[in-house]
């Protein structure tokens, strides 16, 4: 039995803006185990991004419980959230979010600046190798194509050996060929044992995952295993 990484019970999230309370998540519950590849799907405004932010320790829930590796992380302060983000989570964003005028090497190294561990160089090179960008290691971020940038982002997400990788619409800014290449990398990482949570509003993208959680209007509408899973490798062959 694999480790239960995430356990969420009746999680609710309200935003308060000038005394106006907007309720975004109305009570969701689920578990995610180590090694899973989960897609959180839903239309705009469904609350899927909010859920990702909470699961990714970027924000706190308003009501309910959130356990991470058995520990109650429902209400942590800013410094604790930052530490967990640094150690346990890797993010891949739709807009890549690389540091401008900075080399691939230093971009991937960024999370390591905020921890106390050593061996930075080994970790950076290993992560860059995992995404196949050794030949671009000294190039600057603005010299890369969209697909390459996203690969750098994945390497950055990997560098601290996180427990979970969050990918928020990772192919949203890419053409279908580059997008497919990215999905192939994510699939490969999952095959190696990484836990991946993918957030998307596109069914085609979501079907690369093994499990889909559908969020509609702040509640879980469906939570099922994917039968007709898409594999990026097949996609590549189709395109040839």
């Amino acid at each position: 039995m694999t480790e239960k990484l995430i356990e969420v019970k009746d999680l609710k999230k309200d935003y308060v803006n000038d005394e106006v309370v907007t309720s975004v998540l109305h009570g969701v519950s689920f578990d995610i185990h180590e090694g899973e590849f989960v897609a959180i799907m839903g239309p705009s405004g469904s609350g899927k991004s909010t859920l990702m932010h909470i699961l990714g320790f970027l924000d706190n829930l308003t009501y309910g419980q959130f356990f991470f590796k058995g520990r109650d992380v429902s209400n942590l302060d800013e410094d604790e959230l930052a530490r967990i983000r640094n150690e346990e989570v890797g993010f891949v964003f739709q807009a890549f979010h690389l540091l401008p005028k900075t080399s691939v090497y230093n971009n991937v190294k960024l999370p390591l600046l905020y921890d106390k561990a050593k061996d930075d160089d080994i970790k950076v090179r290993s992560a860059i190798k995992a995404v196949g960008l050794e030949h671009r290691i000294n190039n600057f971020s603005n010299q890369l194509s969209g697909g390459e940038k996203q690969r750098v982002a994945i390497a950055r997400a990997l560098v601290n050996k996180p427990s979970i990788i969050f990918a928020d619409e990772p192919t949203g800014n890419l053409d279908s060929k580059s997008g497919n290449a990215i999905m192939e990398i994510l699939e490969g990482l999952n095959d190696m044992g990484h836990t991946i949570i993918l957030v998307t509003h596109e069914t085609d993208t979501a079907k690369h995952a093994k499990r889909i959680i559908k969020i509609v209007d702040g509640l879980i509408a469906e939570d099922y295993e994917v039968n007709d899973r898409r594999r990026a490798k097949d996609g590549n062959q189709l395109m040839k």
Binding site: H53, A82, N86, H97, L99, L110, D115, R156, N160
Partner: protein, 389 residues
């Protein structure tokens, strides 16, 4: 603009400390050159702490030649006294001319001023009493008029009168803020009766044997003069007595005021510079919102962000500080060179302290004016920051 403010501010700090120290060492040196056992008596009353009225060019007539003689005779611990009358005239010999200040003094001038003649001799009491037209030339005056010829024994025209040169002073340089090589010395009575047509003296200097006896001597002189001037108990002194320690204090307080103004300039410049740095940093934070969001997302704590931006603002001010220190040091050096060229004994003081202070001030300015932008950056919400267009 920002850097300019920081640079000017730091340069001003350096100049203040350096030039201030230089000026004050100059003052002390000037007075040490005169001798610290001197008492000056000036006509006209004034506050003890303020400059004497005669400093403002007002001519007062309450001191007499006989007062100086009386002080020499009656006041214990006084070893030498001279009266001083000052005038300006053109001195000429054959075709050479020079404008000079002449002093009518008593023979004890040499003891009072602790100096001597290089050639010839000084005048004596008989020549003084007889208002004889003899002159002792300052070293530079002798060179200007005689250019290598022997001055002693020649007749020099001072103003409208002819004087016989009986001696040339040693080279003395500047002391008491007077260039002593560019003066001519004539007997006191000659100055009063023949050159100026006055019955009073400009001021009197008395030398005291030991510093410890200065206060007593001052009191004795005051009593003596009050008596001679027939001042009743209720009346204020019609003279004022200064010793060099007082003079140092007065001039030092003037330079302190100058330092204060320089400090004000420095303060304002640094304020302007600091505000500029703050604005630059705020703009930088605004431009880098997404970067800040990203750093937080990968694990930067609010403190990490704050330290990052504070370091950047301090770097900006330290860079300006280095330039300011260099400029300030150059200015101080220039001031010292010019002052020395003019004959003043100015010590160049660019101390490690002033450089340290320059860096310290730059650092603090960067810290203070960088805190607000750094805190703004640290408090950004990473989710919103990442969405920033």
């Amino acid at each position: 603009m920002t850097s300019l403010g920081i640079i000017i501010g730091i340069a001003a700090v350096i100049v203040i400390i350096s030039a201030g120290a230089g000026a004050q060492s100059l003052i002390v040196n000037q007075f040490n050159a005169i001798g610290t056992n001197l008492i000056g008596i000036l006509p006209g009353s004034s506050d003890e702490d303020g400059p004497p009225a005669s400093a403002f060019g007002i001519i007062l007539q309450t001191l007499k030649y006989e007062d100086a003689q009386a002080i020499a005779q009656s006041v214990p611990h006084v070893t030498a006294v001279s009266s001083y009358n000052t005038g300006m005239a053109t001195a000429s010999y054959q075709s050479a001319k020079t404008d000079a200040t002449y002093y009518g003094v008593m023979p004890e001038y040499l003891d009072v001023e602790d100096t001597g003649v290089d050639k010839g001799r000084f005048f004596d009491n008989d020549e003084d009493r007889g208002s004889v037209k003899v002159a002792v030339l300052g070293w530079q005056v002798a060179r200007d008029l005689f250019e290598g010829q022997e001055p002693v024994g020649k007749k020099v025209k001072i103003g409208k009168e002819f004087f016989e040169v009986i001696g040339v002073m040693r080279q003395r340089g500047v002391s008491g803020f007077q260039n002593n090589d560019e003066i001519i010395l004539i007997p006191a009575q000659t100055a009063q009766k023949i050159m100026l047509g006055v019955r009073h003296v400009g001021f009197i200097r008395a030398k005291v044997d030991k510093k410890e006896n200065l206060p007593q001597a001052v009191d004795d002189i005051r009593l003596l003069l009050r008596d001679r001037h027939n001042l009743l108990e209720s009346k204020v002194d019609d003279f004022n007595i200064r010793n060099t320690a007082d003079a140092i204090k007065t001039l030092t307080s003037i330079t302190d005021v100058l330092k204060f103004f320089l400090a004000a300039i420095a303060g304002i410049s640094l304020l302007v510079g600091g505000v500029g740095v703050m604005n630059i940093m705020l703009a930088s934070v605004n431009e880098r919102v997404r970067e800040i969001g990203l750093r937080k997302a990968v694990g930067a704590k609010p403190n990490d962000i704050m330290v990052q931006f504070l370091a950047e603002s301090i770097t900006v001010t330290l860079t300006g500080g280095v330039v300011g220190i260099i400029i300030g040091s150059l200015i101080s050096a220039l001031v010292a060179i010019v002052a020395r060229y003019l004959g003043y004994d100015w010590d160049l003081v660019v101390s490690p302290l002033s450089i340290f202070m320059g860096f310290g001030v730059a650092f603090v300015v960067g810290l203070i004016f960088g805190i607000y932008p750094a805190r703004r950056a640290a408090k950004l919400n990473s989710i919103e920051a990442l969405r920033w267009e």
